[in-house]
Symmetry: D4
Subunit: 157 residues, 8 copies
């Protein structure tokens, strides 16, 4: 399990809110040198605790107003990894899990509208080894926020 | 719908890969001035296309090895927004949707292990207005990557 | 059971295709007098075989791109007729059936988009006596045509 | 999106109630010339807002007392359009949708009685590519009326 | 367990086919005295092996063309016997079982048509303690014959 | 529809209770001649209203303590009649329906015990064209009585 | 049915609590000779009432923290015994039943963690003849104790 | 995690097969002293790896021929521990889990026959806080054997 100290945690608390905060700003806020910030972040990147960052965009403004969860049934479980590799080729699938319960694979997609969603669902259905899919549509994405979790995780370490 | 030009797209392509890339690096790669990068990014932030960034961490290293999807049934749909506000107080719920199909609300949680998951599920079950929950457990998070989508979205704009 | 002769059937075949065909046109086509057409149609209206006509519009052009089927579960079946009367006040519900199977009432709605659909679903959920609803979304309305049936029905009479 | 003015809306309100109302009657009611009604309706037909009309009949009097909804499961989603084209050959299917949820295609049928319904269900089951169907029977068609929706849609334009 | 000999079995084989066969006919066929038949049947009635007989009628000719199976969900299992006693007051319910699986009680009904079935279903739904029902409709009663079983049972005794 | 008069109904009321009541007893009770009873019953048999009678036995005493309902899924609906004909060869299946809902065929079986039931279920599963079965077990046969229905039916004629 | 007397029952009550209790201890407690205990136990072993004993271990301490129930769907029921024999080769499956309801076979597994469980589920899925599995995960094993039952069973004999 | 050496494993392998094997027998087989066996077993008991043993009986001979799995739905999850404590009072429930999926609690019961099973199911249904149960019946207990697992677990330590 990762080992981080209080300075690391304070740096993480800033980066969680805004990954793009300049190190000089972080240094000023925590009353330490920018070099220290640099060293600490590098160490956390090398240990793999932090392994990247991602942009948060306004999907509605970009024309993507449609979110769906799609459960995938396979003909044979032995094709799971093959099907996952084919799903990766569909950029509209942002999340996919191998799951317990009735589905073999469970995906989240983002689409422009109903017609676009239909196309994406059909792409999934057409992958060799997929026998059927079931779709559940999001009427509202009420929470999509891992900041609350990340603050909690680092506090508790 | 957002309007962005080719320079914007090239800048976005870099930021999608690493939100923390310094503007001077982006400028060098695209053969433009750092000032231009700064202006373009600021404009995209003001228009709301970009509205933040988030850290990608290694949840396994941080002791969070358990992911589940939880479907929530409400006693009365009129309590939906109240229940969502209560769910927001549970940091382990990173995503929540109001959905079609059999569930009223559909959540994603991250937990340390089975015992921790049980506690979180019970927190959800104990919210006033929740009548029942159903849990589906992830055996493997095969895809969790919006970079492919973001590149695609900006290419197509 | 209704009794209609061959002339009636020929008239109906024209009206099925276009309810607004003038009687003089029908008369010309069938080589009978307009008065006869008038008398026959009136008789069929009085007997109740024909009891109206409805406009066919292009819902997409009118901004209604979203169709869903919604299954309604009631707290008590004794409230069925009351709930039906409340559903009638929602113009977006164009069809409602009392059904066998797991739902008490089964509705078809037309909405502008996902957000509008959510509002309509919540209207249904908020009717007194409704305990829960389940929604199935149409990705494409492939057939919506009773002309084929009507021609068949009148042929077979 | 379609553009229509107040005169258009008033004309539509009459036609929604009875598509067969003569233009001279509409003109009298709205205190405009029959020529104006003619021009306006033609324009709306050309723009496609109105694209036809259909007879409303009394199915009970015609011996059709049985309505069912039938969910169709396909062996492969890639056969969807083929199966739809085969379903179109069955006149008793008046509505068919490609849907989310557990069914691939969802149909509405009208039949004379239980025995007739069985025959229609077997026709669907026998289409190549159909693996299974599930039937839900209507005990009462409580609402089948798009007039309320059409008035609302045109008012809001 | 009941003890019967070969003579008993032969008598039963005749009665299974037609309960109304006169004892003298049975006696003739089996080459025994009518008195023996009488004594044997009486003994089997007293021991309770045979405890009655029922008429087989043609329900279609009597206007009862509709058969449905109805699953009943109770609010509390403790009301099971009370609900059963109320169901007994509905003559259209010919069979009722307490079952495993999702239903508490499972019934078979015979009705005249869809409208009559709806009334019977609503009678069941309105019994105190019943929370919901689910109906499955028979499209054809392909087998309803316990003669094959009875011959088998007595052969094997 | 069958036509029967008050005398017929009174005769039927007696036969419903006990199909073996001698005609002389019925005659005495109704204060008519035995010949009349004979003529009336014969007429009802010829018209098909009555078409047989069946023994009611005590299945527990005969060692048959186990009742189950079994839903059968077929690979192809086109095999329905073939599968029904094969099911008829299994004497333990006393009732079979072609049904709406999730099952193609729905059967009632009587068995000696759990082990015997398993054998019968496997016989069904092994019929060509059957893809799967689902079993629901009766914990108690609370009602199995068509006398209430028959009295009602004949009263209402 | 087994026949045991009061002495046998008292011996069993001790062994139920601890199979390893020495016969001399049992003898002392029951105020009988060790030889009698020996004879009685031997007799019960020979009659098959007792046919072994099993160690109770602390699975958590041994690194097995994960329990799941897995429902197995077969392609053909005729392969049931073959599949069972293959399941027996997987030591992590401690219990397997042929069941009524939607599953053909129902198993209990013990695994180290989620990743190990995934491997075991895939082993099951890969057996020839298995078409699909559904997994339900235990969040807590609240009761696993047959001592209460055994005391009860022997008391009631 | 528990630490055990090769001697411990060999001792365990014997005890897994028969918990009642005398230490002198084990000593002879492993060519070590009985004292060593005694010390080793005691140490493993003190560390909790072994914490008891249980009798394996022939339930059929004891009149218990019926096994069922019962899924319990609660009105409120907050009553889970209370309901578990009440379930513990029913000796026929040998296993109970808090589970993911549609059930709150999942139990295994052993009963004498169908009628006895009904009584036990009703006991569960009557516990305060239980809203409904669903029962799945075992047609054959094909595997009930943790020896294979235990050998594997100790081998791999």
């Amino acid at each position: 399990m990762a080992k981080i100290d209080d300075i690391d945690k304070q740096i993480l608390d800033v980066l969680i809110e805004n990954t793009r905060t300049p190190f000089t700003d972080i240094a000023k806020r925590l009353n330490i040198s920018a070099g220290t910030v640099h060293v600490r972040v590098k160490k956390m990147e090398e240990s793999g605790i932090i392994h990247g960052s991602s942009l948060t965009v306004d999907y509605h403004q970009l024309g993507y107003t449609f979110i769906a969860y799609i459960g995938v049934f396979l003909e044979k479980t032995s094709t799971t990894q093959f099907v996952i590799s084919r799903i990766k080729e569909i950029p509209f699938v942002t999340v996919a899990h191998i799951t317990t319960g009735k589905f073999n694979i469970f995906c989240k997609i983002r689409a422009k509208d109903t017609t676009h969603a239909k196309k994406i669902i059909f792409m999934l259905d057409d992958i060799d080894g997929v026998s059927r899919t079931e779709t559940m549509i999001s009427l509202e994405e009420s929470i999509n926020d891992k900041k609350r979790l990340l603050h909690k995780v680092f506090q508790d370490l």
